[in-house]
């Protein structure tokens, strides 16, 4: 027998060793993930306070280096609510510290992304991160220069400055260096920002790339979706670990009170019915609940089936108006239809599906397939399209029944909002085909496809009418001229009465 070396590692160390799962596989992918994480953080920082986001992203290549991978300077600035000065070091220098461990819809869920990006930058370039931030109404701007102690999962503050904030600016600026491969990452980065502009039409996004090119996605509306409310967990979506934590945090004296206070949409009557179903005494003190009873309760919650469906107020869908505005702004289509499904749930997690369809205009015409743009909690999903539930639904539809052929410029947009998106992998790239979600996407898609179908057939009949008139316009004058010569007459007959008859017919046909 040999001796194994056991060693505890910190969360930062763990993610450093497993950076592949967070999307930092290679220089190109790493740069894409870096931009994406920072932009998402900035958008979240604005949306939770109903601030219309102004986001500025700059990538700079400081030296004309021949080396590969190249070092880039990243600067991302937003006008969000800012980070309180005492929290800045941990928020940017400690993995798994953040504001997102709550049950409401947000782009990020683990609070990991930005720190992963900074960590990757620190490892590859051995340089520090500069964070500048001011909260709303604050008279000071705080500037930190810090690095991360990977093994200890602690921030190391190198420098700290405070400046007066006379202009009452609020927001956050993050600056650091990182390795990447911009030429390769460029298409994905630009596509990511373009799609973000669809799903956040109220945001103003500017991107300056290392070659000095400016990509600008201007705000199309100042309307914003209602921010999500924080919600208590729904019993069906709770596992043993969560249950234990809820129990620890609870001040309730007995089990019935615990049920009504710690979970959403449970009143006394439901609590009693459930506890009777589970076979546990409602008066039992929370302190005396055994591990076996916890397991019984958690299992019973899943099978009970008589809880009200999860509360959807913790979700923040885009809404039909904004989704349409986003699609119009970016795809500039000839026709748009959008539809928001009513809230539904899977495994105790509420979700809302929004579907849009765009046709014609600048909608790209792809080879023999419909363009699919997928979003989850307002994040564009750009990879592994063919594994996604939306792809499955779009391809299962009999498009010919909706007057759509594969050579038409058609784009389908799907947006899933949920407190928990069922990603198949940690990479957050594609959504698993849960039957409940699949059904909602299908219903939404059918609805917008029906509207597109009506549009196409209406346009087709107008087009046919136009063609019909053109045929008469082409041949009647010729008939007149040939027959006049043939009959040896001098003056051609007037065909206008006939043309009038034809166009009057046309009006009748159209009705």
């Amino acid at each position: 027998m040999s001796l194994e070396a056991f060693q505890e590692i910190s969360p930062a160390d763990f993610f450093y060793r497993n950076r592949d799962i967070a999307g930092f596989t290679n220089p190109s992918r790493a740069l894409y993930s870096t931009i994406r994480e920072l932009v998402e953080n900035s958008l979240d920082a604005c949306e939770t306070s109903m601030i219309t986001p102004d986001i500025y992203v700059r990538l700079r290549q400081p030296v004309e280096a021949e080396n590969y991978p190249t070092v880039y300077e990243v600067r991302v600035m937003d006008n969000g609510l800012g980070v309180p000065p005492d929290v800045i070091p941990s928020a940017f220098g400690q993995v798994l510290f953040g504001s997102k461990y709550r049950l409401r819809q947000a782009r990020g869920t683990f609070g990991l992304g930005v720190k992963m990006a900074l960590l990757y930058g620190q490892i590859t370039t051995h340089s520090a991160t500069r964070v500048i931030s001011a909260t709303i109404g604050s008279g000071e701007i705080h500037e930190y220069t810090l690095t991360m102690d990977i093994q200890g999962n602690k921030p190391i503050i190198l420098e700290r400055k405070v400046k007066p904030n006379r202009g009452r600016w609020h927001g956050t600026i993050v600056e650091f260096s990182t390795e990447g491969d911009y030429p390769r990452a460029m298409p994905k980065i630009v596509e990511y920002l373009r799609q973000t502009a669809i799903v956040a039409p109220y945001a103003d996004i500017t991107f300056v790339d290392p070659r000095g090119r400016i990509y600008r996605f201007e705000r199309a509306t100042t309307k914003m979706p209602r921010p999500p409310r924080e919600a208590k967990p729904h019993p069906e979506g709770v596992d043993v670990e969560t249950f234990k934590r809820l129990l620890t945090a609870s001040t309730a004296r007995n089990l019935r009170d615990f049920m009504t206070e710690s979970f959403q949409r449970i009143g006394r009557r439901t609590a009693d019915a459930f506890l009777e179903y589970a076979g546990v005494n409602p008066r039992k003190a929370t302190a005396n609940i055994s591990p076996e009873e916890i397991l019984t309760l958690v299992n019973a919650m899943k099978s009970f089936g008589r809880f009200l469906p999860p509360d959807a107020s913790c979700l923040s869908p885009l809404g039909e108006e904004l989704l349409e505005a986003g699609i119009r702004k970016v795809l500039k289509p000839e026709f748009v239809a959008v539809h928001q499904r009513p809230p539904a749930s899977y495994s105790g997690y509420p979700f809302i599906v929004e579907v849009g369809i765009a046709y014609g205009g600048e909608v790209p015409k792809e080879d023999n397939k419909i363009t699919l743009l997928r979003f989850a909690n307002k994040i564009p999903l750009l990879f592994d399209e063919a594994s996604d539930v939306s792809w499955k639904v779009v391809n299962s539809l009999d498009w010919r029944r909706y007057n759509v052929t594969m050579d038409m410029p058609v784009a389908v947009i799907t947006h899933l909002c949920s407190t928990k998106i069922p990603y198949k992998t940690v990479g957050k790239e594609y959504i698993a085909d849960r039957p409940e979600i699949e059904r909602e996407i299908l219903c939404g898609l059918r609805e917008v496809a029906r509207r597109l179908s009506a549009f196409i057939s209406r346009r087709r009949s107008v087009e046919m009418e136009r063609r019909r008139l053109n045929i008469f316009l082409k041949y009647l004058p010729k008939l007149a001229s040939f027959s006049t010569s043939l009959a040896g007459k001098k003056e051609e007959p007037d065909i206008n009465p006939l043309l009038r008859k034809v166009s009057r017919l046309a009006v009748v046909d159209e009705g």
């Binding site: 008939l479 027959s483 009959a487 007959p493």
Partner: protein, 358 residues
């Protein structure tokens, strides 16, 4: 000939006037023409050819699917009237290209060919009558003097023995008037080789005949010319082909016309006679033969059901072919020497023809 030209021109003008009047009175113009669908084709005992039945189709400019072919039809009438008016001739291919000058684009040549056939049906004249000729040419040779009517040659005469290869049956000859004929019969042969042999052996003098070479299935201009020789000059017509179902049918089309041309008259020669090579000749003359192939046999069975083949002679020959299962070409007589066919076979056939003639 001049009479016919006038009739054709009048028919074309009538088409124009009708359309013109309908337009002038504020109506959607239309024409009615005999339907050329197979269900409207009948064999007519009196004319001894296929004819179209009573069924008409109406082509109206009110109908979005008809206005284009109707305009094409009227254009075609206009175009050929100009053509005949200027004494020019044209081919189907020419017509197809000419249309483009009038922004009357046809999708392809079959479409324009079809419109010309419609025009034939509409005015009841074959297209040769309005100067649209086929490309294929066959030839004629014999003591017949013609007078040209085509521009630049008006009044010029030609004796058809003047060229030993024969004279091509083209537009100029088709439009010519017959002036004088010394021959008393027409012998039409399928093949160029036999035609040349006949000229070399002076068949036209020895048997006092006008020789026609059909070059396989006779073109419509040739069929029309044979008919004129028969009708205008009262010359009996003898047809000689290969001894097989295909040769039989070449003769039959000269005699009774084709289903394709059921909409036009005056292309067939009902009194012409097929005189060989018969299946019974193969037996009688012990000719060298080839076996019938599957296609030949199939064709014979088809012919036996065809109403044109109901006379005893045809029935007898079809049955004989099927019995001996052999076929022979005209050249097969060469086994008895190059001149045997002229010296022996032909006189025998002419004698038999005269015996049967009324």
């Amino acid at each position: 000939m001049r009479d016919k030209k006038k009739r054709v021109e009048e028919a074309l003008v009538r088409v124009g006037s009708s359309i013109y009047e309908q337009l002038r009175t504020g109506n959607f113009p239309y024409v009615e023409l005999p339907s050329r669908s197979t269900s409207n084709i009948y064999y007519d005992e009196e004319y001894r050819q296929y004819v179209l039945g009573e069924r008409k189709i109406r082509r109206s400019s009110r109908n979005i699917r008809h206005i284009r072919p109707l305009t094409q039809l009227v254009w075609a009438a206009y175009f050929v009237k100009e053509l005949t008016g200027q004494g020019r001739t044209s081919t189907l291919r020419d017509v197809y290209y000419s249309a483009q000058a009038y922004e009357m684009n046809f999708t392809d040549q079959p479409e324009s060919d079809n419109v010309l056939t419609d025009l034939e049906a509409l005015i009841g004249h074959p297209r040769e009558d309005f100067n649209v000729f086929p490309e294929e040419r066959s030839a004629i040779f014999g003591d017949l003097t013609i007078e040209y009517t085509v521009p630049g040659y008006e009044g010029r005469r030609l004796n058809l023995t003047s060229h030993p290869d024969g004279v091509m049956i083209g537009p100029a000859l088709t439009n010519a008037e017959f002036v004088e004929c010394k021959a008393d019969k027409v012998i039409a042969v399928e093949k160029g080789a036999l035609f040349t042999r006949f000229v070399e052996e002076r068949v036209h003098e020895r048997y006092n005949a006008v020789l026609v070479q059909t070059a396989g299935q006779a073109p419509r201009a040739t069929r029309a010319l044979i008919r004129r020789l028969n009708v205008e000059l009262k010359l009996p017509v003898i047809v000689l082909t290969d001894g097989d179902p295909w040769g039989m049918h070449i003769a039959m089309v000269i005699i009774s016309g084709s289903a394709n041309a059921a909409h036009v008259r005056e292309l067939n020669t009902p009194d012409a006679k097929w005189m060989g090579v018969w299946a019974t000749d193969i037996i009688e003359y012990k000719l060298p033969t080839d076996p019938l192939n599957d296609l030949d046999v199939k064709r014979l069975h088809e012919l036996s059901k065809d109403p044109r083949y109901k006379d005893p002679l045809w029935k007898r020959e079809i049955n004989t072919f099927l019995k001996i299962k052999r076929k022979a070409e005209q050249e097969a007589f060469s086994r008895y020497g190059l001149t045997f066919i002229v010296d022996e076979y032909l006189p025998a056939k002419i004698e038999e023809f005269n015996r049967e003639a009324p």
